[in-house]
């Protein structure tokens, strides 16, 4: 087996704020193999985006990496100087953000921005880079690429801008693509197109893809493997089919059961996860999901359970995983009984 493209080992990221310390990422270990698509899913505040930014060396202050390692193709990235990191970004790793308007420079033509990415990292002449930029725009399905290359970002629709971002991201054939909620800002019909383009672009340059999303529908259609995050920790790491058919962590099970589905029966009530995610300033001592878990026992509150392999090879962070089966469950609480 080949070595992973990306490895996170016990990564920990904290933000010191006025009210205390936010433990955004709390010991995350995960790897992405060559050509593989790993989805990290979680809700707001689960730490998925912070983990991705840590890989890019882009943790904004007051955040800082307080423990663990990030390795890209075996090379340790934590503590790398900014100058070194710059050589990596856009070359070996490239990131696609949720909002392409804020990541494309509004003052430069789209084609020139892609060409710049090529000349900064590559040995291409300006002219060859322009030519390649047009080819890349064509590759991501932008019609009339020679014309659109001369457009400014605001002249493109949201879907077209995201395609241009993808073109720029694959310009230097990175080993790893990171896409953070790449289609969240888009309409559903456009989202389907952009995901298709992203998959094709990934195949074209044979990159691994780290997909950060809250949308389990997108995960099902895109990922090979899924890591579910809750309160800064991975609670389950499994192949996409295993995760969706037999989720094993109580949070994964409850999350899947709470999803609205287009093939639902009319008036079908959704299963509910009671309560709210924990305050990241004051995480519970034991399992962070314990206060909302339908299967909680005393042992859950004593210490944080380890993320450990179970019989089918997947990783689950739950002390009771062996005794619980893998059906999606939640709690069908009557609406008025919910307490804050």
């Amino acid at each position: 087996m080949s070595d992973p493209v990306l490895e996170l080992e016990e990564l920990a990221v904290e933000f010191s704020v006025d009210d205390g310390v936010v433990h955004a990422v709390n010991g995350v270990s995960v790897h992405v193999d060559p050509g593989e698509t790993l989805a990290i899913v979680g809700e707001s505040g689960s730490g998925k985006t912070v983990a991705a930014l840590a890989v890019m060396g882009l943790i904004p202050p007051p955040g800082r990496i307080v423990g663990g390692d990030v390795r890209l193709l075996g090379r340790a990235l934590v503590g790398l100087r900014e100058r070194e990191y710059r050589k990596l970004r856009g070359a070996d790793i490239a990131m696609i953000f949720q909002d392409p308007l804020s990541s494309l420079n509004p003052a430069f033509r789209v084609g020139d921005q892609i060409a710049e990415a090529l000349t900064v990292h590559g040995a291409l002449s300006k002219r060859a880079a322009r030519q390649r930029a047009t080819e890349l725009l064509d590759l991501v399905g932008i019609p009339q690429p020679e014309v659109r290359a001369r457009y400014f970002p605001h002249q493109l629709s949201g879907g077209m801008r995201q395609r241009a971002m993808i073109a720029m991201a694959i310009a230097n054939s990175p080993k790893l693509l990171i896409a953070d909620e790449p289609t969240t800002a888009l309409d559903v019909t456009v989202q389907a197109q952009v995901l298709e383009v992203l998959r094709a672009a990934q195949r074209e340059v044979d990159a691994a893809l780290l997909l950060i999303t809250h949308d389990l529908g997108i995960v099902a259609g895109t990922a090979d493997r899924v890591a579910v995050m809750y309160a800064g920790r991975i609670v389950e790491d499994a192949g996409v089919d295993e995760l969706f058919t037999t989720p094993r962590h109580p949070y994964t099970r409850a999350l899947l059961a709470s999803l609205p589905r287009v093939d639902a029966r009319e008036g079908e009530r959704l299963q509910v996860i009671p309560g709210v995610p924990p305050n990241p300033l004051a995480l519970p001592d034991g399992c962070a999901f314990a206060p909302r878990c339908a299967f909680v026992v005393d042992a859950c509150r004593d210490e944080v359970p380890a993320l450990r392999a179970i019989e089918d090879g997947r990783l689950v962070r739950c002390v009771r995983v062996e005794e619980l089966d893998g059906t999606p469950v939640g709690e069908d609480t009557p609406a008025v009984s919910w307490r804050a």
């Binding site: 309409d187 099902a220 259609g221 287009v262 609406a335 307490r339």
Partner: protein, 323 residues
């Protein structure tokens, strides 16, 4: 037959096109809503679905008379809002209330929850009832009386949405217009709020006009669905029929694009990929507005606008060549 709680009759809403940096664009208008007719019956949920720019939120605002329509009639409980006196309009407005998408922007950060929920009562001169009504309303939405003294920032997104719903219920309306009420919420919280809405509807016999871009959410809550595209309703029918046997190509494309949390099905599914972008609402296509992106379009589609009528689906579809 019962009187609908809300009736929209041939609503047209045009906005003057925004002036550009180098002067205005003459008499150009944005055709945000163009001839929408829709009725919501008591205790019924009608969903208005469509993508950005289709006019669904504008329609919702016209329904509440937050916008004065360019043409068309809005009736609440059978009464034409344009015909009634100012005083009656105030009365009628109590019957229909709105819940907004963003639970952070729609609550005044400087007001305590008690004042937020009591505000509609005060506006209608019923402030003296606040003392008894506020705890009742908070209880209805699953909050407790001790939350009344707190400020919005002390609550999570889901709890804030509950506060917004309590405020909308203060005047005991017949109809709630819900404008993307769960779109800003996390998955685990979304189900709580959706179930709350379903429960409240049963308990209080409410009618809902539910505005959403999320077809999975709509499937769970709607009795009937109206699909909008570029200012017009293209299909309108019972949710079950529209989801199982959509007649309009746009509805088909929309349904085929929804990602499902099922890897096996995602692998084999055939998506209908629409070509091109949404045309400008300043200069919408002639005939059928969807024709520029439709794989079935023929000459007729450019010449003649298809009427929204039953074409053998058991519900109306605005297409010359329906599925």
């Amino acid at each position: 037959m019962t009187t609908p709680v809300l009736e929209l009759d041939d609503i047209v809403m045009h906005f003057p096109a925004r002036a550009g940096a180098f002067g205005n664009r003459g008499d150009a208008v944005v055709h945000a809503v163009d001839g929408v007719s829709l009725a919501v019956q008591p205790n019924e949920t009608v969903a208005l679905v469509g993508e950005s720019g289709c006019g669904k939120s504008t329609t919702a605002r016209v329904a509440l008379r937050l916008l004065e329509p360019t043409a068309g009639t809005v009736r609440i409980d059978g009464q034409d809002l344009a015909q009634v006196s100012r005083r009656d309009l105030k009365q009628l407005r109590q019957r229909a209330q709105i819940v907004f998408q963003d639970p952070f922007a729609s609550l005044d950060p400087r007001m305590r929850v008690s004042s937020i929920v009591a505000e509609p009562l005060r506006a209608q001169g019923q402030g003296s009832e606040a003392r008894t009504r506020v705890p009742e309303l908070l209880g209805l939405v699953g909050l407790s009386a001790e939350h009344a003294g707190r400020y919005p920032h002390e609550f999570s997104g889901g709890q804030r949405q509950r506060i917004g719903i309590a405020r909308a219920l203060a005047l005991a309306p017949d109809l709630l217009v819900l404008d993307e009420p769960v779109s800003a919420l996390d998955v685990s919280i979304r189900a709580q709020v959706l179930n709350l809405l379903t429960g409240l509807q049963d308990q209080l016999s409410l009618a809902y006009l539910f505005i959403s871009h999320d077809l999975a959410v709509v499937r769970h809550i709607a009795n009937r669905v109206a699909v909008m595209y570029l200012g017009k309703i293209v299909e309108l029918g019972p949710a079950r029929d529209v989801y199982a046997g959509a007649g309009h190509p746009y509805t088909r494309a929309l349904l085929s694009a929804v990602p499902e949390p099922d890897p096996a099905r995602e692998r084999v599914r055939q998506r209908i990929v629409l070509r091109g972008d949404l045309p400008s609402a300043i200069d919408p296509p002639s005939g059928c507005r969807f024709r520029t992106r439709c794989w079935k379009a023929q000459d007729l589609c450019a010449q003649e606008e298809p009427a929204l009528v039953d074409r053998g689906h058991g519900h109306p579809v605005a297409c010359h060549f329906p599925e």
